[in-house]
Every structure is written in structure tokens, then in C-alpha cells.
């Protein structure tokens, strides 16, 4: 890497790190205000997230869906699209995976598991293709459409899981995933852990690598990024923006679907209604924190996973309420979005040799 590239990357990292530090400081002030001890609380937060191997595994498990949803938002964003519908795409992905994984009997794992994952991705991709198509062909803004598709997804899954596909019993859930379609959990491999961390996390790492490769090493990524940065220049360069918009939405939706499939096949082993605390929306924050870069998304997902699990522990062991975690997340996002503030607080030399 060139010296300038390294400097650029450090600069890119400084903003989120600065935002996190500021977020923690603001959190500390709030804790002092409500009479809690911030050092103790942050210690509990850290222990809850990384205190032992089991907690660490759980943090990774909580981060896994965020890797996918963060990538989903980031990929669409690289094409200039704001996909707020990842939550809905996650729902339909989970539904398809739950159906295929729970009902298709008699298949060997080597076929059934990939098929189930693909079904989840396809469902998410198709769900996102609709707003993509409307945007490309009719110019309808994707923000509006993806939000509305979310509501349709909630209602649809709510109805199906509570009624048509409901497994016997009290809770609205689908039948358990067949063993031939499950993602293996860590707790099933070692006896020191009962964590529900599954190989879905590894799939997340692979997805990061693939998305990075697609965006920066292929003509598809080149075209998608051109459309995102400069639609007119892309048109001039013979790139069919409409096709790229649909493609980007489908890939983004497929990643959202994959997030749902991982929850269903690895973590919950069934579609339990209310399984997502808003992974799709947290993905927006993760992508923002990660500056729409796969590596950034991975780190952002880990941070949010750690905050979430550590927060639960903090709530359990100290007097600080778990809501503070939401405040922390919000403040961090605020400072990332308002990166000008960070630039003022951590001044850097201007890069101005070209603007003379």
C-alpha cells in the first residue's frame, strides 16, 4: 500500500473511533447524572461482552446478523440507494429458510442446507427487487418503497407464522428446522460453551470478503460504484444504470435474506415471531459506522453486538438501565453522522496539495 493510502485508511478509521470515544464519554456523563458509577458500568459492559470465551462467542452470535444487514445497506448505498427495507428482506428470508428448512424432508445435508440458505437469499433478493424495479423503471424513491415493503413483510410473516405455518404449542413459531438444514452451533462442538454462535458467523466473514471483492475487483462493482457516485458519468460510460439499480437491490436484499436465514437455521432453529429486535435497522447504523466498507461493517457489527450483550450484563450487575445502551448507540451514530464535529475535535492536516 502507498503511504497516502495508509494515511487515508487511518483517517477513515479515526472518525468512527473518535465517535465511539465521544459516545462513551457522553454515556459517562449521563451515568454520573443518574448517580451511577461509569467506570463500574463500563467494566460490566466489557465483561458482559468479552469477559470469557462463552460471552465472547455470544457477542459474535449477536453480531452475525448485523454483518449481513450492514453489508446489505452498504452495498445498496454504494449504488446510491438507501435500502431501509433490510428488515423486511430479513423477514421474508427467514420465512423462506424456515419453510424450506423445516418442511423439505429426505434431503442430505450437503444439498438441503445450501438449498435452504439459497431460498432465504432468493426471497430477500426478490423482495428487494420490487422497490429496485420501481425505482429503475418508474423513478419511485426507494426509501418510500422499501419502508412500505417492510410493513407488508411484517404483516405477511405475522399472519403466516401465527396461523398457516404455526407449529403446535403456545408461541407463534414454525416447525423446528430439520437437522439436515441447520447451521452447526459452537455449543454442539465443544462442551465448555452452550453458545448459539453458529458457522453463520464464518459465512458472514466470507460475505464481507466476497462483497469487498465484488465492489472493488470486478466490473460489476465498478459499474455499481459509478452509478452510485455519478449517474450521468455512468450513462456516458455506457453503463445501464437501471439494470445496476435493480441488481444492487437484489444483492442487498439477498444479504438481508441471508441474515434472516442465519437466525432461523443457526440461532433460533425455527422462525419465532419477534426474533428480530430490528437487525435490519441496526444494519443501517452499522453501515454508517463502517463507512459502507465491508471491513468497517464487520467492525461496526462487532461493536453493536458487544454493546448489546455487554449492556444486558451491565443491566444485570449494576444500577445502570439497559436503555443506556440505546443512548450510547445513538450518540455514536450521531457523532459518525456529524463527522464534522469529530474533525474539529481531532483536527487533521488538510489534504490540500491539489486545491492550490
Amino acid at each position: 500500500m502507498r503511504k497516502e493510502d495508509i494515511q487515508d485508511n487511518i483517517r477513515e478509521l479515526l472518525i468512527p473511533i473518535g465517535a465511539i470515544i465521544l459516545g462513551l464519554l457522553v454515556g459517562a456523563v449521563i451515568m454520573l447524572a443518574i448517580g451511577a458509577n461509569p467506570i463500574e458500568a463500563y467494566k460490566a459492559l466489557f465483561i458482559g461482552a468479552f469477559g470469557d470465551m462463552n460471552k465472547f462467542a455470544n457477542t459474535l452470535a449477536r453480531s452475525t446478523p448485523l454483518i449481513f444487514t450492514g453489508l446489505a445497506v452498504a452495498f445498496a448505498f454504494r449504488c446510491g440507494l438507501f435500502n431501509i427495507g433490510v428488515e423486511g428482506q430479513l423477514y421474508v428470508g427467514a420465512l423462506a429458510a424456515a419453510f424450506v428448512g423445516g418442511n423439505l424432508t429426505g434431503l442430505p445435508k450437503i444439498i438441503h442446507l445450501p438449498l435452504t440458505i439459497l431460498a432465504g437469499m432468493a426471497a430477500g433478493g426478490l423482495w428487494a427487487a420490487i422497490p429496485g424495479f420501481l425505482k429503475a423503471k418508474r423513478g419511485v424513491h426507494e426509501v418510500i418503497n422499501t419502508i412500505m415493503m417492510n410493513f407488508i413483510a411484517y404483516a405477511l410473516i405475522g399472519y403466516l407464522v401465527a396461523d398457516v405455518l404455526k407449529a403446535p404449542g403456545q408461541t407463534p413459531r414454525t416447525v423446528p428446522i430439520l437437522p439436515s438444514a441447520t447451521l452447526i452451533r459452537l455449543g454442539e462442538l465443544v462442551n465448555w460453551s452452550n453458545s448459539r454462535l453458529s458457522i453463520g458467523f464464518l459465512i458472514g466473514l466470507i460475505a464481507c470478503a466476497i462483497i469487498y471483492f465484488v465492489l472493488w475487483k470486478t466490473t460489476i462493482g465498478y459499474e455499481v460504484r459509478s452509478v452510485g457516485l455519478s449517474p450521468l458519468a455512468a450513462e456516458y460510460g455506457g453503463i445501464n444504470s437501471n439494470r445496476k439499480i435493480i441488481l444492487a437491490m437484489v444483492i442487498s436484499g439477498a444479504l438481508g435474506g441471508l441474515a434472516g436465514a442465519e437466525r432461523v437455521l443457526g440461532f433460533d432453529r425455527a422462525l419465532i415471531l419477534g426474533f428480530s429486535p430490528g437487525f435490519g435497522f441496526e444494519g443501517i447504523a452499522v453501515a454508517l459506522l463502517g463507512r459502507n466498507h465491508p471491513v468497517g461493517v464487520l467492525l461496526g457489527a462487532l461493536l453493536f453486538g458487544a454493546l448489546s450483550n455487554g449492556g444486558a450484563w451491565m443491566n444485570f450487575t449494576t444500577s445502570v438501565p439497559v436503555d443506556l445502551i440505546v443512548v450510547l448507540q445513538a450518540v455514536i451514530i450521531f457523532f459518525v453522522a456529524a463527522d464534522q464535529i469529530i474533525r474539529v475535535i481531532f483536527p487533521k492536516k488538510r489534504k490540500d496539495w491539489g486545491a492550490v
Partner: protein, 502 residues
């Protein structure tokens, strides 16, 4: 005469570069002072220091007899220094009045006093002879009018010094004339004007003195009446510059492009290209002269596949290419330098390397299947950088950070390197410095001499006249006449451009 402003020994260093190196500059009250130099010479840095955007590392600023430091633009504005940027900083949906008072609105209580604002603007507009419609929305008025609004903004804030950054780059010849009248009027009222430009004709026409900068240093300040364009050009570039294009007689061959009865609509659906027919042979340059907005842009967009024609046909080497997509036409070996390099020609946040393959990115050797071969791409970029003398630290810099001339060189390099049979260049030297203009003109003539058919569209009549072998004049979407370049005079073309035929 005591200068109103003097900047002495200004030095400003950025990492790896000295943008201003002991620069001296002084401005007299009531003069128009040109600040000329190629892009990257340090003009903008100097003006940004004066406007409080940068702090100088060394040197001092004396303004109205007082030595001071300018920490930020607000302070500069308070001191009476106003700046009109090249890219206007106006809010399109707001009215002229609202834009002028924005940020220092007259208030009655907490409320915006619209009546007083309107009255102030009208008074100001009358006082300085800058006629505007105070109630018109910015998005509905011409670029020339928008520029007046920018000037009024500085006057509203009490500017005594007005810095104009390449003010004519976006104007039509008529608007330029009007601007010059306005500037002369302003100086009569005691305002001083710093006029940043690299158009030497304008320096000669409008300014009292000129300060020339090169590579961060002041080369000298001259009285305009005692200098010549050639002399200024030499000071700017540091060597002799050919202001005229040297070229041999064209040796045209067989027709390459044939346009037959072509019509097209503009974005609003109005007919803007009206039954246009012409042909271009290999080894000749056909120039299109015309006031901007007479259908040139739409015509080129149809020829390059960016716009669908309404009727008519386009043939390239006798193959019909009417209505093909931009990609298909590019694959028929058509090179195109679009008029707006920022919006169309480049992806500004892509690296130099990535921009050198825009439009040819899926061809070998850059792409193997869907995989991009960055080694081949970077080699290609380095090759073009060297061949076309693109001034960039390396091939990974975002093109946004390069000067206009170097950006344009990248586009021209990319388009010529594909060895097109037809080379279309629109406004190839707009906003480009002298050294680069000379180079770009050379490239266009060389393309012709290599047997390419060249279609040139330019708002600079001089450019069309000096480069073209034949000149077509377009007026309201119609080709009014096509002249041999040797028969074309400025007067003749001017009449045709105004729609007056013979």
C-alpha cells in the same frame, strides 16, 4: 498611490508542496487587477488566504493601512472583502432577494423583514446598475443573472474588494460583455476588483494591471497597457507559447460520419435539433459554431447514444448507428469528450486509474470476464499519464483533486487512446489553463492528421475558427450554413449565429 491592500511575502505550505512561496500582491483602490496563472500556480491559495480560509505560514497582510490577520471568512466579509466563487453558492428554490440577504437578513423583532430586504436589494441593484428581478427564483434565471446575484451578495455585505474567480467561464459572449460593463461601473464607485482568470484576451480588455503567478511564486506585476497576451502567456508558462494553432492543410478522405435529417427533443420535450444534415470525412475537423443552447448538446447526445432521436438517421462508415446505446456506439470506435467533464466525463471520486477505463472497463485487457485486472488498468493509466502529460502525484489520486486541465487531459487521453474513427470533442478547453489548451489543441489536430474524423463543438468562436477545416453554424437547432474555414470571418459567423442568413 497607496494600495488598499497589500500582501507581502506570503508563504503557505501544504504537506509536500509549497502552494505560495513568498508571494507579493497589491491592489489599488478602484482598479481591476488580474491574477493570472495556470491551474496549480497558487492563485486560489492566495485568495483563500485573503478570504480567511487558510492562514499563511509567513508574510503579512496590510489592508487599508493596517496590518492584520484574517482568521475566517466572516472576518474577511466584515472587513469588506467579498468573493464570487466559480461555482455559485446560491440556493436555487429561493428568490434573488432571499439569496442576497441570506445570513444577514434584516429583521423586525424575530421575523424576517421581507419588505426591507426587497427595498435594500432594489436600492443596491439600482446604485450599481446590476439589474435583477428581486422576486425571481434562482432556479429560473440565467447563469449570467445568477452571477449578478453573487456580486450583489458581496455588495450587500459592504464589500470594497470583490474577488471574482474565473467569472467568465460560465458566460456567453454577450453576458461577458455585460459583466465587463458592470465591473467598470463598480470601479467607478470606488470598488476594487481582483479578477482571477487565465483568458488573456479578457486581461487585456478589462484590467488595469495583472499579477502573474507560476508554481507558487509571483513572476511579476505589469500594467496591462504595457504588456501583450504573448508576453503574459510567457510569464505564465515560463516558455514561449503558441497562441495560434499551427496546422497543415487538411487532406480529407472518405466520409466517416453522415447525419441525415436528424431531429431530437430536449429534456422538456421541445424540438431542439431540427432536421440536421452534414457529413465529416476522415482527416478533417468540422467545427460547430453557435451560441450555447442552440441544440449543440442535444445533437452530440444523439450522436453518442445518450439521447434518442425523433427522426433522421446517423451513419458511421455507411453503417446505420441511429438510436444505438452509448455502449454500442462506443464499440463502433467513437471517442467522445463531453461538455461537462465533472458530471459526464469523469467519476470525480474515482481514482485516475479507474477513470481511464470508464466506458472501456469491460474490454480486454482491463477485464477478464467480470474480474478487473488492476495491474493492467494501472499500467494503462501510467501510460496515458505519461503520454498526455497529466500532472498528478500518482494514478491513485481521486480526479476531484486534479486541476481542470489535467482532468480534461485524462478524458481526452482515454478517448483518443481507443483509436476512434470519429472523435467528438465538446468544449474541450473550457476552464482549462493555457499550457493545457495548447496541448489539447495539438492533440485534436494530430487526431485529424492521423485520419480521424473530428467533430468539434465550442462556445469559443476563436477556437472553432482556428481548429476547424469546415464550420457549421447552428441556430435554434438548425444548421444555418456550412462554410469553409478559410471563408469564415468572425462577422460572417456572428450574423449566422444570430440566425441572420446572408
Amino acid at each position: 498611490m497607496q494600495p488598499i491592500l497589500s500582501m507581502e511575502g506570503i508563504t503557505k505550505r501544504f504537506p509536500g508542496v509549497i502552494a505560495n512561496d513568498g508571494v507579493n500582491f497589491d491592489l489599488r483602490a478602484g482598479e481591476i487587477h488580474a491574477l493570472v496563472g495556470e491551474n496549480g500556480a497558487g492563485k486560489s491559495t492566495l485568495m483563500n488566504i485573503l478570504f480567511g480560509l487558510y492562514q499563511p505560514d509567513e508574510g503579512r497582510i496590510v489592508y487599508k493601512g493596517e496590518e492584520l490577520t484574517i482568521d475566517e471568512p466572516n472576518q474577511a466579509i466584515k472587513l469588506g472583502i467579498g468573493m464570487v466563487h466559480q461555482h455559485f453558492k446560491l440556493v436555487p428554490p429561493l428568490t434573488v432577494t432571499e439569496n442576497i440577504v441570506l445570513g444577514s437578513e434584516p429583521k423586525s423583532g424575530l421575523k424576517f423583514d421581507r419588505k426591507k430586504a426587497l427595498k435594500d436589494v432594489e436600492a443596491l441593484s439600482e446604485k450599481y446598475g446590476l439589474l435583477v428581478d428581486p422576486n425571481a427564483k434562482i432556479e429560473n434565471i440565467s447563469v449570467g443573472m445568477q452571477q449578478r446575484v453573487e456580486i450583489l451578495k458581496t455588495l450587500y455585505r459592504g464589500a470594497d474588494i470583490i474577488i471574482l474567480d474565473e467569472p467568465t467561464a460560465v458566460l456567453t459572449p454577450q453576458e461577458v460583455k455585460e459583466l465587463f460593463d458592470i465591473l467598470k461601473g463598480l470601479t467607478k464607485q470606488g470598488k476594487s476588483i481582483i479578477f482571477i482568470t487565465h483568458k488573456l484576451g479578457e486581461v487585456m480588455e478589462i484590467t488595469n494591471r495583472a499579477t502573474v503567478m507560476r508554481r507558487g511564486k509571483t513572476i511579476g506585476t505589469v500594467e496591462t497597457s504595457e504588456t501583450s497576451p504573448t508576453h503574459l502567456a510567457e510569464m505564465m508558462v515560463g516558455r514561449q507559447v503558441l497562441l495560434r494553432v499551427e496546422k497543415e492543410e487538411a487532406k480529407p478522405g472518405k466520409p466517416v460520419l453522415r447525419v441525415d435529417g436528424l431531429s431530437a427533443n430536449d429534456d422538456r420535450g421541445l424540438l431542439s435539433v431540427n432536421h440536421v444534415s452534414f457529413e465529416i470525412r476522415e482527416g478533417e475537423i468540422l467545427g460547430i459554431a453557435g451560441v450555447e443552447g442552440n441544440g449543440q448538446s442535444e445533437l452530440l447526445e444523439v450522436l453518442t447514444g445518450l439521447r434518442k432521436p425523433v427522426s433522421g438517421e446517423v451513419y458511421l462508415n455507411e453503417k446505420k448507428i441511429t438510436g444505438l446505446t452509448a455502449k454500442e456506439i462506443k464499440n463502433h470506435q467513437v471517442g467522445y469528450v463531453p461538455e461537462d467533464r465533472h458530471k459526464r466525463g469523469l467519476v470525480l471520486d474515482f481514482s485516475v486509474s479507474e477513470n481511464t477505463i470508464l466506458g472501456i472497463h469491460s474490454r480486454k485487457p482491463f477485464a477478464k470476464g467480470v474480474n478487473l485486472d488492476y495491474k493492467a488498468i494501472n499500467n494503462h493509466a501510467d501510460h496515458l499519464i505519461e503520454k498526455f502529460d497529466v500532472r498528478t502525484p500518482n494514478n491513485q489520486v481521486h480526479v476531484r483533486n486534479l486541476s481542470g486541465g489535467n482532468q480534461q487531459k485524462i478524458i481526452i487521453a482515454r478517448e483518443l487512446d481507443t483509436d476512434p474513427v470519429l472523435f467528438i470533442a465538446s468544449q474541450p478547453t473550457r476552464g482549462v489553463d493555457i499550457g493545457a489548451i495548447e496541448f489539447i489543441h495539438r492533440q485534436i489536430v494530430d487526431a485529424r492528421d492521423n485520419g480521424k474524423a473530428v467533430l468539434l463543438v465550442s462556445a469559443e468562436l476563436q477556437e472553432v475558427m482556428s481548429l476547424s477545416d469546415r464550420i457549421a453554424v447552428i441556430y435554434e437547432g438548425e444548421i444555418v450554413d456550412i462554410l469553409e474555414a478559410k471563408d469564415a470571418t468572425e462577422d460572417k459567423l456572428g450574423l449566422l449565429m444570430a440566425g441572420i442568413k446572408k
